[in-house]
Amino acid sequence: MDFGIIKKEVVCTVKDPKVKSVKFYIVQLLNLDKTPRNEYAVCAENTLGLGVGDYVLIVKGSPSRMLDGNKDMPIDQAISARVESIDIDEKYKDLMKD
């Protein structure tokens, strides 16, 4: 699992019939203090109805097809949740930066 912010939607009309209902987003991965890392992921999003600017959790590999409605889809990265806030103990604040 990883944490990031949705940057942009990738619009595709020609696609495999199994991913007809799915939207694809470019997600910028973030440190826990919400500063950007130099990494991106292309993720599928199906049922949550998220948009650009939302903080999200992404799940990688075959578990991305365990999400509701994603069964048998040709996807290996998916958005699994929207993040409202992250709380970290004061002692571990310096862990938030990579």
């Binding site: 990738v10 595709c12 009309t13 495999d16 650009v52 889809m73 996807i75 290996d76």
Partner: protein, 95 residues
């Protein structure tokens, strides 16, 4: 999953039975900033694409989910074509 550009196809005559109907393409891997990385991957075509198209490629066991590649020994499949890559790239820079 990653964004890539189809830059070539592969012709092979001696291949396993499972691969007889497979269409194999060379895809240049693009990074999250939509710039080419200089890396390449050989991918199965699941949707019918052409040279020069910008595409989405999925890897691992997801590569065997499209109908066409479901019985093939695939670990990388092209499963969507990006509509307007230039527009996407321009807008991405503005974000």
């Amino acid at each position: 999953m990653f964004i890539g550009r189809v830059i070539g196809n592969i012709v092979s005559t001696a291949k396993r039975d499972e691969l007889q109907t497979a269409k194999l393409f060379i895809v240049e891997v693009y990074d999250g900033r939509l710039e080419p990385t200089g890396k390449y991957e050989v991918s199965f075509d699941a949707i019918g694409i052409g040279l020069g198209d910008y595409v989405l490629v999925c890897g691992g066991s997801a590569a065997r989910m499209p109908e066409i590649t479901s019985k093939m020994p695939a670990d990388s499949s092209i499963m969507a074509r990006i509509d307007d890559f230039e527009k996407l790239k321009k807008e991405f820079k503005e974000v």
